[in-house]
């Protein structure tokens, strides 16, 4: 891949994403406002969970996005290692903080839901443990991006770690499942889904997803601009030398 073609792609990305971004921002806003209406005045409390069910309109969405982010980053990691595509590097870097933020939200809202529902903020079950590890992985990846100055090298290192993590996360899930079934009975209550809860749930899910797309595109654009600044500065340094 030549230097000229690799630069052409981010340029095309900049023009496309610039057109898409206003649309995704508006979609995110509309869906979330509608979702919030249905989440509070527009839906009754659950007969089993009571009012706490309203947390179900922010918790699974955050968790879903954290996982989606990791999957996207793993795909981008392949893009970095196999095709050495600069946009894949940019995506990896831009997505990590978003993943960390949504994983954190997934954990916090989950714990706030757990206390009134199960009577405890935390259980060491497969889902929670592997999700906690997912959060730590995001933090580790952010740390790599912060530590390694050369963006190309950082991208390849982060890619390796992301891919090994992609193998590891299911294993952790599985191993903790075995661990907890041998140690303690699984006391997790599965909530029934009532038709009332579907509209806010999916409206919020759609809203969160578009929000995610918007923030991701914004951060990727920032990163591309940052790389341009960097290369301009390096070129001017080179010209002086």
């Amino acid at each position: 891949m030549g230097i000229t073609t690799t630069l052409a792609n981010p340029t095309r990305f900049m023009s496309y994403s610039g057109k898409i971004l206003p649309v995704t921002w508006i979609l995110a806003l509309v869906l979330i406002v509608a979702g919030l209406y249905y989440a509070f005045p527009g839906s009754p409390p659950d007969y089993q969970m009571g009012e706490v069910v309203r947390l179900m309109y922010v918790h699974p969405q955050a968790a879903w996005l954290a996982m989606l982010t990791y999957v996207l980053m793993a795909v981008a990691a392949l893009g970095t290692i196999i095709w050495r595509h600069p946009l894949a590097d940019v995506l990896q870097k831009a997505a990590a903080p978003i993943g960390a933020a949504f994983a954190l939200l997934g954990l916090v809202t989950g714990m706030l839901w757990g206390q009134p529902t199960w009577g405890t903020y935390w259980v060491w079950d497969a889902r929670l443990t592997s999700f906690l590890i997912l959060f730590i992985m995001f933090l580790g990846l952010i740390a790599i991006w912060a530590t390694v100055e050369d963006p190309g090298r950082a991208a390849r290192i982060a890619a390796i770690l992301t891919l090994v993590g992609a193998v590891n996360l299911p294993i952790i899930y599985f191993s903790v499942q075995i661990w907890s079934t041998l140690h303690q009975p699984q006391g997790v209550l599965q909530g029934q889904t009532d038709a009332h809860f579907l509209p806010p749930m999916f409206l919020m899910l759609g809203g969160y997803t578009f929000l995610f797309i918007s923030i991701l595109l914004l951060r990727m654009r920032t990163e591309i601009l940052g790389r341009r600044v960097r290369s301009m500065q390096l070129t001017s340094v080179g010209a002086e030398a």
Binding site: I136, T147, R153, N168, S175, W179
Partner: protein, 223 residues
């Protein structure tokens, strides 16, 4: 094959001559085993129940001890360049370094584990199983640590960061290892098979993933 064995041997020799070989790891292992009872109290029943976990955690930490230098020293003295041109695929170089490191530091831990088990009031049967699980499981820990060692070379100033990045990967090994021993210590004894098989499977997977990821990390860090 000759090259592979030469790397294994050289790693062991260097570990003995400049790193004190198994001694540092063993002392560290010993101190973990000695410190924990002071934390949880001298109740021998409790100690024998959590003993396997203490020994496994000690083994995990001791195994990761010297791994940060494993490739960094090679990079600093230029050996890493030569190893990459030796004709052996980098994955096998990483595997050979891991094997050498395990023989020099992991194997002594396995052999010493029964002695440490005495301090923790483990039964003879439990010690036998403990040694068996450590023998199967510590290579996985070394191979996971090798990924961290290779990342050290790539990141350059990693320090604690690498340890934090690598520890999550050791969780399954720890879980399966401790579960298998607990099956003998607290029972039921028939729940030994499943975690032990899974421990073997994890080690086999680590034999593949460790060298591939380690070689990938070294390549990623090329400058």
């Amino acid at each position: 094959m000759k090259a592979f064995l030469a790397i294994v041997r050289q790693t062991i020799t260097v570990s003995f001559r400049s790193g004190g070989g198994p001694l540092v790891g063993l002392i560290f292992f010993l101190s973990v085993v000695i410190v924990v009872p002071f934390g949880v109290g001298p109740d021998l029943n409790l100690l024998s129940r959590i003993g396997p976990a203490i020994i496994w955690i000690g083994a995990l930490l001791a195994t990761l001890l010297g791994l940060d230098r494993l490739f960094q020293d090679d990079r600093d003295d230029g050996s890493l360049d030569q190893l990459q041109m030796a004709g052996l695929p980098l994955e096998f170089v990483v595997l050979a370094k891991a094997a050498g490191h395990w023989i020099a530091t992991g194997l002594p831990l396995v052999i010493a584990a029964p002695v440490f088990g005495l301090f923790l009031n483990l039964s003879t049967a439990a010690m036998g199983v403990l040694v068996l699980t450590l023998l199967v499981g510590t290579p996985a820990l070394t191979l996971i640590g090798v990924i961290g060692g290779a990342l050290m070379v790539a990141i350059r100033r990693g320090g604690m960061l690498v340890a934090v990045l690598v520890l999550p990967f050791a969780i399954p090994v720890l879980i399966f290892g401790v579960l298998a021993v607990s099956a003998i210590v607290v029972g039921p004894a028939d729940s030994f098979g499943l975690p032990f098989m899974l421990l073997c499977a994890t080690t086999l997977l680590a034999i593949v993933v460790g060298p591939v990821a380690g070689a990938g990390a070294i390549r990623a860090g090329r400058e």
